[in-house]
């Protein structure tokens, strides 16, 4: 009984190490193909479209609503202390430091990450990747690298859009609906939100999440078992692992950036 549990744990650990190792080698292979991506611009544009533009809708709508809800909830708490003037600060700091990168990252993993895994997995299972290799076209450079670069560029932009629209949503609720003075809303926010300490750190987070989520997505797709079941599992893994990675890294990054 105990022996089999231990053996199971051992196998799981070895498997994890094995996958981690392959994942890192894979990242190295991708990075070698990255410079070429900028030369072959049309490929990158196409991927920016399917990774970035297609995720824009869900990001924009979620951002707006998250901002509006934050404003509403924040207002009812702050008004008890007569501090409703700080509503802008509350919303801006929550969005810029945490919610923007994290929620945009989670949504991005669900929308673009899963699509990337499924697409690459299907290309693998229909022998398209093998076919490319035999046509002397390296799929790492032709297929994986442009998708990776597109993901890394897209997420910071999406996170910024998420935060900006969230703040606009909060402004709409705070000023138009709840009647907070517009001047106070913006000036308080501006005074307490710092460019380098808050905004730039948020952007750094979103870049890190962009790298990690896209990396997981393309790796799972490339490494999947090339059957319909395998692709389905890989897609699920992408979303789950991305979510864990984002939340875990967010804790680490927050401790590093704002803890010291």
């Amino acid at each position: 009984m105990i022996e089999s549990v231990l053996r199971g744990l051992g196998r799981w650990g070895l498997d994890l190490l094995w996958r981690l190792g392959r994942g890192h080698l894979f990242l190295w292979e991708i990075l070698k193909g990255v410079p070429e991506t900028f030369i072959r611009f049309p490929l990158l544009i196409k991927q920016l479209y399917s990774v970035g533009v297609l995720s824009l809708m869900i990001i924009a709508v979620s951002g707006l609503f998250v901002g509006m809800v934050l404003a509403l909830q924040g207002y009812y708490t702050l008004v008890d202390f007569g501090a409703e003037d700080s509503l802008g600060v509350l919303v801006a700091l929550s969005l810029v430091r945490e919610l923007g990168p994290v929620v945009a990252g989670l949504l991005f993993a669900g929308r673009a990450g899963s699509a990337l895994t499924a697409e690459i997995g299907l290309m693998k299972s229909t022998e398209q990747l093998s076919g490319m290799e035999m046509m002397a076209v390296d799929p790492m450079r032709r297929v994986i690298a442009p998708r990776f670069v597109a993901g890394v560029i897209s997420l910071p932009l999406l996170a910024a859009i998420f935060s900006a629209l969230g703040i606009i949503g909060a402004y709409l609720v705070g000023h138009v609906q709840l009647g907070i003075d517009a001047g106070i809303f913006w000036s308080q926010m501006q005074m307490k939100t710092d460019w380098s300490a808050d905004v730039v750190n948020g952007i750094i987070k979103s870049v890190v999440f962009g790298v990690v989520v896209t990396w997981i997505a393309v790796f799972e797709g490339y490494d999947c078992v090339p059957t319909s079941e395998g692709v389905g599992r890989a897609t699920t893994r992408t979303v789950v692992h991305s979510a864990f990675a984002i939340l875990g890294l967010d804790f680490v990054l927050t401790a590093l950036m704002f803890g010291g």
Binding site: L122, M123, T126, E127, Q128, S130, G131, M132, E133, M134, M135, A136, V137, D138, R142
Partner: protein, 272 residues
């Protein structure tokens, strides 16, 4: 006779614990059409991937045009692959590109030809496989036979020195089967290509090939011209060439005898 184009020596390959090749030796000469045949599961597709450098053998070498495929650097391997065409069983067309763009794909990737010239080249290749007028269709709209013909047009787009077909006749209706047989024959004839056909369709393979290699149990058990093989006295070769259900290759998967199994009671399974 001149040096063979492809020289396979003492090839060993295993997947996990299962040995697939235990010392395969094959010579293929320039301009020949060679069929590599054997029952399902003998690793014909694996052999194809070993030749293409997608898999590494455990032992032994594959030499193409004097170069050891598995000792080449990444760049040299890719340079060699430009001179090889491979036709996958599924066609392996890029699903997000039209027929035209699929055939143009290797040209655009590997040459700096002007679009005008690519256009003409692609139409020539598509004309050769009879699908010039289907050039605007997407791969999803094609039948299996058509997809394979497009893939053939794509495989010969760069005028390779050799071409490998993976099961080109499998799963085709009689008409498209005939078309593919003719095409394989025409392409190797007209372009002087060395062709390797991996197949288990005896009739078609025998029709087009100069030499047949029969694989079984991880080794080449017989090779020679189709006529020689048909006259072989080996019972195994006879069973395969005539397609007899039972013989040296048993119909039943090896294991316990039937009577013993019946007596052993119920089968433990997941569907309790």
């Amino acid at each position: 006779m001149n040096e063979p184009l492809i020289k396979i020596r003492d090839l060993h390959f295993a997947r996990g614990d299962r040995a697939i090749f235990k010392g395969v030796n094959i010579d293929i000469h320039r301009g020949e059409v060679v069929a590599i045949m054997g029952p399902s599961g003998t690793g014909k597709t694996t052999l194809m991937r070993l030749i293409g450098g997608q898999l590494k053998p455990d032992r032994g070498t594959v030499e193409i045009d004097g170069q050891n495929v598995h000792a080449l650097s990444h760049d040299d391997l890719y340079a060699l692959r430009k001179r090889m065409g491979m036709l996958f069983q599924s066609g392996a067309l890029l699903t997000d590109l039209s027929v035209f763009d699929n055939v143009a794909f290797p040209l655009r990737e590997h040459t700096d030809l002007p679009e005008r010239m690519i256009h003409d080249l692609v139409l020539m290749k598509l004309q050769a496989v009879g699908l010039r007028n289907a050039r605007r269709m997407m791969p999803a709209e094609l039948s299996g036979g058509m997809a394979r013909r497009v893939a053939l047009a794509r495989a010969i787009a760069l005028d390779p020195m050799m071409i490998i077909y993976d099961e080109p006749f499998a799963g085709q209706d009689p008409i498209s089967m005939g078309t593919v047989v003719d095409l394989v024959h025409d392409v190797s004839d007209a372009m002087g290509l060395t062709s390797i056909v991996v197949s288990h369709d005896i009739k078609e393979a025998a029709e087009i090939s100069d030499t047949i290699f029969l694989l079984s149990g991880g080794k080449v058990i017989e090779s020679g011209s189709p006529i020689k093989l048909k006259r072989s006295t080996s019972p195994w070769v006879q069973q395969f060439m005539q397609g007899l259900p039972d013989g040296p290759v048993p119909f039943h998967y090896p294991g316990t005898p039937f009577a013993e199994d019946l007596l052993s009671g119920s089968e433990a399974s997941d569907y309790d």
